[in-house]
Amino acid sequence: MAQPSAVPEIAAHAPKPAAGAANGSDLKMRAEGVRVFYGDNEAVRGVDLDITRDAVTALIGPSGCGKSTLLRCFNRMNDTIAGCRVEGEILLDGASIYDEAMDVEQLRARVGMVFQKPNPFPKSIYENVAYGPRIHGLARSRSEFDEVVETSLSRAGLWNEVKDRLDEPGTALSGGQQQRLCIARAIAVEPEVVLMDEPCSALDPIATARIEELIYELRGRYAIAIVTHNMQQAARVSQRTAFFHLGELVEQGPTEEIFTNPRVQRTSDYITGRYG
């Protein structure tokens, strides 16, 4: 519900930290001046984004606006794409993730990811969840693994459904269950941040609702950043929202403000559906 006196876009480029940035002590990850290039094409143009702990930050915007690309910067998954170049600073607890001292594999254990299409390994459910702790040496004995698997599956809301069939392949589950398995797999390494790239787009509405509830429950434990093209989902689930358009971060702030009184006209246009 934008006020008639919505501030035009020019003001969006005014000092951003004052407008909608997070409280210093809540800050978990921060992107500063991040630009991402695919070859010569600039997909993300100078973005400053905060991800706060114990909260869900939603990244919304039309297709192809760079939100997934930016999300993948936070765990350096863009490193795996040939021809992709990242400029700017990305900080985890104040330390740059591109620092030499930062082992990228450990980074990805601290900053986990859930993908758009559920992609469990073609292994047993147990092995799926145990894989992360196994390769990072977070569990040693069989009982430690058992505990991690049970805890993670419980937190993902899947334990009761699969506790009697942990040896069955992960790929035999339904779509919604597979995605919850992927979430369990991601949280099994006790990450500090969980990045979710449109986790519900491949799921039916009931499965989507369950995942949204799960995300809402998980927010107390992890800093969650979720990319979604479903505005309503962002409104329901997140505490902070950032709106992207054509590679730029147009506006970010508390979700309630963005959806009741966005400051920038472009944001208002998108949210009310008048865009495009």
């Binding site: 519900m1 949204e212 409104a235």
Partner: protein, 223 residues
Amino acid sequence: MSRLFDEVIEGLRTDLFRMGGRAEAILAKSLRALWERDVELAGEVAKDDVEIDRLEVAIDEGVLKALALQAPVAEDLREVLAVKMIAVDLERVGDLARNIARCAHRIATHPEVPFPVSLDTLARASQRVLRRSLDAFSRGDADLARSVMDEDDAIDAAQDEVVQSMLRALERAPQSASQEVDIIMIAKHLERVGDHATNIAEDVILVAEARNVKHAKKLAKSS
């Protein structure tokens, strides 16, 4: 995500019932000030009314947030709208109680005048329908709501009686005109309370049965 919505609607209902309780309380207080000619009590009501206004603002914000963030549909949507509409009615009830208190204050500072029996009937009826309408909303009880709507005519009749009685008293004892006019005003305010209770009852039926029964009689007559 019904769980999150449930939390939101629970918050709104809590505020609404707090508001309703307040409204009932200050109505009772203003009437007690009237019966007992208690000037101090009458003075407290104005302060109490502020709390009701504060709650209305909170509910406004809550409803806005619920609609923007939860995008409720069907019964959830009707419930959120009903909360908003009932809050408006309760705020008006608060204002009416304040008005009644002002009249009570004036009556108390003037020589005593006998109150007509119908005033007591009217006062009881108004309080009763207010309480019942809020109970109906709390329980989603459409039948209770309908019983409230049915009492509306009786309340109108009681108000007429008080007015007639006071008009006759004005002729007989013009020196107590101030008190008599105040009593007429109080009767009008109490009848308005009854109307608001009816509105609340109509909102209850909207939520429970998805039927809008407002102005039913008038609309039926004109069609």
